[in-house]
Symmetry: C2
Subunit: 579 residues, 2 copies
Amino acid sequence: MYRTNNCGELNSSFVDQEVKLSGWVNKIRTKGFIIWIDLRDRYGITQLVFDKERTDTSVFEAANKLGREFVIEVDGKVIKRKDFNKNISTGEIEILVSNLKILNSSITPPFTLEDQTDGGDELRMKFRYLDLRREPIKANLIFRNKLSLEVRNYLSDNGFLDIETPYLIKSTPEGARDFVVPSRMHPEHYYALPQSPQIFKQLIMIGGLDKYYQIVKCFRDEDLRADRQPEFTQIDCEMSFVNESDVLKQFEGLILHLLKKFGKPVNNSFPKLTYKDALENYGSDKPDLRFDIKINEITDTVKGKNFNIFDNAEYIGCLVLPEKAELSRKEIDNLTEWVKRPQIGANGILWIKNSGDNSIKSSFDKFFTSDDLKSLIKNLGSKSGDLILIMAGTKKETLEHLGTLRLEIGKRYDYINYDLFCPAWITAFPLFEYDDEEKKFKSTHHPFTSPNEESLELLNSNPENVIANAYDLVLNGNEIGGGSIRIHDYNIQMKIFEILGMSKKEYESQFGFLIEALKYGAPPHGGIAFGLDRLAAVLNNKDVIRDFIAFPKNNSGKDLMIDAPARLTKDQLKDMTKK
Amino acid sequence: MYRTNNCGELNSSFVDQEVKLSGWVNKIRTKGFIIWIDLRDRYGITQLVFDKERTDTSVFEAANKLGREFVIEVDGKVIKRKDFNKNISTGEIEILVSNLKILNSSITPPFTLEDQTDGGDELRMKFRYLDLRREPIKANLIFRNKLSLEVRNYLSDNGFLDIETPYLIKSTPEGARDFVVPSRMHPEHYYALPQSPQIFKQLIMIGGLDKYYQIVKCFRDEDLRADRQPEFTQIDCEMSFVNESDVLKQFEGLILHLLKKFGKPVNNSFPKLTYKDALENYGSDKPDLRFDIKINEITDTVKGKNFNIFDNAEYIGCLVLPEKAELSRKEIDNLTEWVKRPQIGANGILWIKNSGDNSIKSSFDKFFTSDDLKSLIKNLGSKSGDLILIMAGTKKETLEHLGTLRLEIGKRYDYINYDLFCPAWITAFPLFEYDDEEKKFKSTHHPFTSPNEESLELLNSNPENVIANAYDLVLNGNEIGGGSIRIHDYNIQMKIFEILGMSKKEYESQFGFLIEALKYGAPPHGGIAFGLDRLAAVLNNKDVIRDFIAFPKNNSGKDLMIDAPARLTKDQLKDMTKK
């Protein structure tokens, strides 16, 4: 036996007990005749004390030779400390050590194992097993474990069955790139790793299992953007005999359960925004609703004053910033430079300062009279003290730029209340997007998404206007989930493949089994999938999902710790290429 | 809304309520003026009734046109049935349908969706989504879901953290073959799919997380034996600061928890057998303890009677079968033929019939006097009525054959009590096995298994005699779990690699990160992994794990439903082979 107790549970109620502890040497302080050691394990830190009077000489000498991160086992008596440490749960006691055994030694770690480490990202990933010892990373993984468990509890209590779908499946070249796996037993044939269990969960519904969930790894061989992982974890769910509102209600329940379990404040009903409204009001399909500022369109109001920027623009919109009329010219210039950076690419910002009735200034005073400006701010409902930032251009781009500017302003001027958790549903996405390059329609989500009943008749005449029974769940500006009602009707599914320009050969070789399955009594069904990595980060107000993954890959898809991907042996290559 | 209730919950307490149900048409009976339909969903079956007097003509006509496996939605009133069906929970009521909507039609399924289907294995796998509708398969998956959940509950309650390890890792050519995954971003470099998260869970322990578990897919590119799957699910666990008995105690707890939850009878403490004792007493390292018959060695007792078969044998052993002395010659011949089949390859069976003091016969009466036989059966403690079956040959093979015969006898003559669940630990495995072909030692389990402390000193002199701190959990003749205490000492790990004949280059390229990690204060640790597929089957007294997997592969690793593995497109092949 290595321990009677862990390093996080002893307190003054244990005083005078003999205990055995094991753990890591976290910190050593010595005063010559007395040595204090902070012993650390997953559960906490307990102070050990060795002193020349009360400790065996051999034990004292051994303690003197310990180094940081050594693993030790000690026997000793719990005693009251003179100087309480109120910051830790074990702060009232210490262990007077009678026996010390070194279980393992340690060389010096390549970075400090403190909350604020001196290790860079790459170094921390290379020595991830040491990074895991740091409190913040450990806490993230413990949180993630609890999050998974609460998701499972809720879904299980609501009748969902955890059903495993296969990892070695078939490649479907549509959409993102698959990772493929050569089959040794069937030369020139390949498995693919799933980008999601989409089709399998639909088949589970066709199989009559009614409610399915799985917390499952998914794989996408994409050129990685910052903070994207080639393998990521999805909370994947599907239900039968449901329409859109049934699904939204069920998963509002899940998110509310999680927010409550983790002590987050939340309103009990989630606002529902159409995709169109989200773009027009927030310039984003994942709006951050923790602050009120919205985009106002002023296209019609400001045209016709001989100001080219307005007169030539398809769309003009603005943001009204309360109590920012006194913002300095320099600060506005700084914002302007920020939106003009190539990552955003806006043309610039125009402004109006509403400092009260007789003091309205703008960056386009040449073209607008004082009355023009007054009328404009009146239309906007602007109050004295407001700063109004205006952007103009094509509608799509300008809304996007205003959305980006909105978020930056939210952060820069503390409009965002970081204590809030503001979920919302985004609904009524278009079913198709027209791809100008390939000159054909593509599915906004995937080809199994159901068109909504009202727009079914547009499938033939105006595919671009067909609305999907699809929905995203956004939380504090992050898309944390998305799903749809699926097509359960064979003929509609065929129609979709036709609109997507897929040949019979294409859809049959890729989805033949699903098409076949639709002939045997497929029930109406739909579902959703949440990104677990992102959800864990967002619930902790964090941006970097990597810190919520035990063994993440870097931005080029490499595991720096194990050095993967790597070359194969000749034998392995031979196995793979034999025909 | 598609339903107010499901098809498994209505009973007489709902009489007179208006309800809406959705489901599949399971069975149709018609008497001309009246139609009964069994409506089925995951939760059960509810009888619908349509009759010419009480049902709208249009609804009645529509009902008349329904086919099996059609998906329908009905409104109706719950009424009491005249003829109760006591076999189903909804047997007291039926629904008098007022409204019927066809949600989907169905063509005729390629096999019957009954408990006993007429579909062969391959057909059932090709249309797995239909097979899932059959009660036995559905019940298996629901059981598996419950099993996973109970495993998680127990482990979570015991402080284990669910931590996900990566699927895209590095190939380690030792052991079974890896499935590999070409990296597009790093040409000529490959990921591998994990055969188990072994090294990662050790790193999680080195990272101080103390107790880890995961229910995780593992992959082995083996030439498949019957009922092996290229991807399978493991309950993977690891603990720090434990010795062997700590681990056994913890996971006895898990198995007891499961047996209790699923209403299985069990003794509270598991017998512990050494690997050697298991082989010598049961001819197997996964003995079926549901019946008492053991192997008795009689080598020394029976030699020296000029009977060549005995005199030339390294080992002679027997099984004593109570109350089988009257077995016919034909039946013994049949057993003999059975053990001589090439799958087993034994030479034959000798026998003694103990029909009472003065009636002892044997198949080798020529060489043994009546007194010889009497003395022999006395030594064996045999009672009147026993049949004694004897095999002779090399020790290893003969024990194996006796073990196989023992199991066959257990089944054939009903010695096995199928109501029992008899778990046992097998311990004290040899650390190494000598590979006669490659002329070198191989790890019996894997190279990270710790030798036990008593046999450490044999590492240099007699590696073949070193005992491992390794253990298997067997249940009713199945190995359902296995694990070990791992090496946490850098120098011992190095020694093991040396004995295994691995060069520095080899072990550093494969396990460099683990070796490095051992330098930074690795704690003593150990763990276990259980096969979830097998565990689910064994707990249900079933042999075929495939029936406990939602989408299994066949014996050549093919998914017959989705037709994987498959060929890739030219573009995909190009992506993969670019340098």
